[in-house]
């Protein structure tokens, strides 16, 4: 008698399950907690400041402000989360923001280059800066920490050289609209009863977004079911979608009541959607996780590791350039000191949003949420008139707490083996 039945069809002997092989139930919960903890924390923080500010936090104008004021950090956070998932870091993005803002200003203000072309050139410059850093990290093998620390100094120096130690402005109206402006009321206003008038177009965008979310989520769920995959229970699924829909509609209605949807929000939504798809579904996105999770295993699975890392830095450069244009457009001036310490906010956003220090873990939506958490703290504390050093204190504590929570859940999950 042999241990395994000598059947032909690739089945190997069924054995009694060894206890160690069974994944125990409670772990599933802790993983969920780890993933959803960030959203719960976000909701709690928003709630806290809403109470502290007597509702001002969620006023139409304030919501609009939070989005517009943090847009460039959120754009940087999208690039940063990819860098961090791949197991690297980028300390230079603040300086790249400044340098690219300067390039855009010189092109548009000093040389009267048409603004679309100028923006395109600026993005290209950002890509080249990213390629420069990506080369040293990926192909030359210098740790990203060093390369981008050098880049932080280098590109700050470049900024001073371009601008000659003074600000350049003002920017064309179109650029300022992109950073600061709002979509036009294309369809006019409608009355919302006690809430007053609101922009119909903005509300329709919100409704369309909700429908889009419901349809895609439902189709994804149906697809998973068709393949016999585990899905979350239907009530939980519906509850999640419902909460998302309510939050989204609430934000859109508030925006519609103020001055319509800001253009940066449209841009941000497109970026979040695009990059979420990239990380979840694209081969390239998967390779980023593979590289960050186990570099050697990725290499031996045929992933072109160096090329992946290189392009992640190029991408970071382009996004930093975009943030640079928007930031400069918002201030209506490119400043030599602009973008100072943006890298720290972007990195903090990524880690608060659930990225792992070792790489291999992280989500675009998480980084956005992390960035919004910091934005809400900034905004809420200024609303209640807190001193700026206290804002720093709270932000530091939140960052530490978020990562400590992540490490703790991981250790608890890992302790069982």
């Amino acid at each position: 008698m042999s241990v395994a039945p000598p059947n032909a069809d690739f089945m190997v002997g069924q054995q009694p399950a060894v206890p160690g092989d069974r994944a125990p139930g409670p772990r599933r919960f802790s993983i969920n907690l780890r993933q959803s903890g960030i959203y719960i924390a976000f909701a709690a923080i928003v709630l806290l400041f809403t109470i502290l500010t007597g509702g001002d936090m969620l006023a139409p104008q304030n919501i609009s402000n939070i989005i517009v004021q943090n847009s460039y950090i959120l754009i940087l956070a999208i690039g940063m989360i990819l860098v961090i998932i791949a197991g690297h870091i980028d300390l230079s993005v603040g300086s790249i923001v400044a340098a690219c803002g300067a390039v855009a200003a010189v092109l548009m203000v000093n040389h009267d280059v048409p603004w679309p072309l100028a923006v395109l050139i600026t993005l290209l410059v950002g890509g080249l800066i990213g390629a420069w850093q990506g080369y040293w990290v990926a192909y030359f093998g210098i740790p990203a920490f060093i390369v981008t620390l050098a880049g932080m100094l280098l590109f700050r120096a470049v900024t001073y050289n371009i601008l000659g130690n003074r600000g350049i402005g003002p920017f064309p109206d179109e650029v300022r609209t992109l950073s600061n402006g709002f979509t036009n009321g294309y369809l006019g206003n409608i009355g919302l009863g006690g809430l007053g008038g609101a922009d119909l177009f903005s509300i329709l965008i919100g409704v369309a977004a909700v429908v889009g979310i419901v349809v895609t989520q439902w189709r994804s769920r149906a697809g998973r079911l068709r393949f016999g995959q585990a899905v979350e229970p239907l009530p939980l699924f519906i509850a999640k979608i419902a909460i998302a829909a309510v939050v989204l509609l609430f934000v859109m209605v508030q925006l519609a009541r103020f001055r319509n949807v800001p253009w940066v929000l449209v841009l941000l939504a497109a970026l979040v959607l695009g990059y979420s798809l990239l990380t979840n579904r694209a081969v390239f996105g998967r390779q980023i996780y593979a590289v960050g999770g186990n570099l050697q295993a990725a290499t031996l699975s045929g992933v072109k590791v160096k090329s992946v890392v290189f392009w992640i830095f190029v991408n970071m450069g382009v996004l930093a350039a975009l943030a640079g244009v928007i930031f400069a457009g918002r201030l209506n001036q490119a400043n030599p000191t602009g973008g100072d310490q943006f890298e720290l906010d972007a990195i903090a956003a990524a880690f608060i949003g659930g990225a792992a220090v070792q790489g291999g873990v992280g989500k675009v939506v998480g980084a956005i949420t992390g960035g919004l958490i910091m934005g809400v703290i900034n905004n809420g504390m200024s609303l209640i008139g807190a001193a700026s050093e206290q804002v720093l204190l709270v932000k530091g504590a939140v960052l530490l707490a978020a990562v400590a929570f992540d490490v703790w859940t991981k250790r608890r999950a890992g302790a069982s083996r």
Binding site: M1, S2, V3, A4, P6, D9, F10, M11, V12, G13, Q14, Q15, P16, A17, V18, P19, G20, D21, R22, A23, P24, G25, P26, R27, G223, R224, R226, F227, G228, Q229, A230, L277, N280, R281, A282, V283, F284, R286, Q287, Y289, A290, G293, N294, Q296, A297, A298, T299, L300, S301, G302, V303, K304, A356, G360, V361, G414, A415, S416, R417
Partner: protein, 510 residues
């Protein structure tokens, strides 16, 4: 004379959802070498972690009596204080520190707060003499081979006045020569009065060295036996709970035409300039054939395989590769995969798997493009593929969304194999596919390998275990110091004959 030095009684330890140890009893006699055998997941390592205080008192139930006193260890320092030292499978040495520094790490020989280097190095030299390590005490550990690093660990244990030495899979990474030396050393330590507990999958070693053997299965003590008169089959039947007549599944070889040929393959070391790792190797593989590659540790087996697999290792690589009679170039791993070549690494945790990802993403890692249309992955299809491998290869996990880092070694290895089977290769290079895997899972891996050969794939099997090569292969090449020293058909192969070829020409080169 033979009194009990260690008694563990009624030990139970539960992890969330899993009962890892269930009323385990263990008695170790003073001055014996006591082996603990069991499949992966049987609870051996957990038991040793309880004993050494990794899981502190209160974390488990049951009692531990050492040398007549009941013990409540709060941590590893407490147990070391009593003279219980554990040497883990993965060595815990600081690679850039010297041998002497490592031996006295955490136990520095100091005078008024400053390290006394003369005393440190002299004491280290004395300990190194006891373990038979002939090196300069100031040599950095990173410059030593695994075998010698193991000796450093033992010297470190001796420096702590060890009375009970626990070794977890001490010879797993060692070649036969180093293993033999280590076993000899353990006998010497026993004669000096040091009691040893050894966990090992290598049953021949257990029989060779142990005085008594305790068998664990599914977290329970099955039995403790005298090694006198014990056989491997008896231990195995205790471990798996059934008789095992055939350690290797039967197979009718159906060998076709030549599919892969390597000519004059030469590889140089990437770290030591000019050092030859593989010198002018030639070999061929045929469809449906399992070909063994035997060689001692350091013979260049992995280097040969990885350099062929898209130059994943080594520099100054030269030679020619033919697939189906046509010469091909394999300049990158991606090219090798596209040409239908797969390489399953010997070190699955470091080189084979993304341990923080789930099963399905590991299975798809090398064949992601097969699941993608215009760069976008179909994740439902991915699930389906991974789930089919989970079923057909019997990967024990609740679903393919389980994290691979949580699986046992055998199941991790099945994930690695799934990954490569999914790339649909014609040539599979399997580097130590059963290393650190329990007997039952080994049999399953053998069945998979046979099935792959039956499907017409050519397999190059690298293994340190000669019985494994003899049990599975149709032909065996021997590699010694980077040179192919022999090609032996299955019918003519014997362990002794292979070993002679595997050591051929080494003396001349030194």
């Amino acid at each position: 004379m033979s009194d009990v030095i260690l008694r563990m009684r009624g030990i139970s330890k539960t992890f969330p959802g899993v009962r890892a140890l269930d009323d385990v009893n263990l008695e170790v006699l003073r001055g014996e070498i006591h082996a603990i055998c069991g499949e992966n997941g049987a609870g051996k390592s957990t038991l040793m972690k309880v004993l050494s205080g990794v899981y502190p008192h209160g974390d488990y139930s049951g009692e531990i009596t050492f040398d007549g006193q009941e013990c409540h260890f709060g941590g590893i320092r407490d147990s070391e204080h009593r003279g219980i030292v554990i040497i883990h499978q993965e060595l815990a040495l600081a690679p850039n520190l010297s041998i002497a520094e490592n031996i006295f790490l955490g136990n520095e020989q100091s005078k008024r707060g400053l390290i006394d280097w003369n005393r440190t190095n002299a004491a280290a030299a004395e300990l190194m003499r006891r373990v038979g390590l002939r090196e300069n005490p100031v040599t950095p550990v990173i410059d030593l081979g695994v075998g010698k690093q193991q000796l450093v660990e033992i010297a470190k244990a001796l420096s702590k006045q060890v009375r009970l030495l626990i070794l977890d899979e001490p010879t797993a990474a060692l070649n036969d020569e180093d293993s033999a030396h280590l076993l000899e050393l353990l006998r010497g330590l026993r004669d000096e009065g040091i009691t040893c507990v050894i966990i090992s999958h290598k049953l021949n070693e257990v029989l060779e060295i142990a005085d008594r053997v305790t068998i664990l299965r599914d977290g329970k003590t099955i039995t403790t036996l005298d090694a006198e008169g014990l056989t491997e089959d008896k231990i195995i039947s205790g471990m798996v709970g059934r008789d095992l007549d055939h350690r290797f599944p039967p197979r009718e070889p159906r060998i076709g035409e030549e599919v892969f040929r390597v000519e004059d393959w030469t590889v140089h070391s990437p770290t030591q300039h000019g050092r030859l790792l593989v010198a002018g190797a030639n070999f061929t593989l045929r469809r449906g054939e399992i070909v063994g590659l035997a060689g001692l540790m350091g013979a260049g087996r992995t280097e040969l395989a990885m350099s062929i697999f898209g130059r994943a290792y080594g520099v100054g690589i030269s030679g020619r590769v033919f697939k189906d009679g046509r010469e091909i170039r394999l300049r990158s791993v991606g090219e090798a995969i596209r040409h239908g070549i797969a390489y399953a690494t010997e070190d699955r945790k470091r080189y084979g798997l993304n341990l923080i990802e789930d099963i399905k993403r590991n299975v798809s890692a090398a064949g992601l493009r097969k699941l993608a249309r215009r760069g976008w992955v179909d994740d439902n299809e991915e699930f389906k593929v991974a789930d089919s491998y989970r079923k057909s290869l019997n990967i024990k996990a609740p679903s393919v969304s389980s994290i691979t880092g949580k699986l046992s070694g055998g199941n991790q290895q099945k994930v690695v194999l799934s990954k490569w089977i999914f790339t649909d290769p014609d040539v599979l290079i399997l580097d130590e596919p059963t290393r650190g895997i329990d007997v039952g899972a080994k049999y399953e891996i053998y069945t998979i390998i046979n099935k792959l050969a039956e499907d017409g794939k050519a397999i190059l099997l690298i293994s340190s275990e000669l019985p494994e090569l003899l049990g599975l292969c149709d032909r065996i090449y021997t590699l010694s110091a980077g040179r192919i020293t022999g090609e032996v058909p299955r019918a003519e192969a014997t362990q002794e004959g292979l070993m002679t070829l595997m050591t051929a020409g080494q003396e001349a080169r030194r």
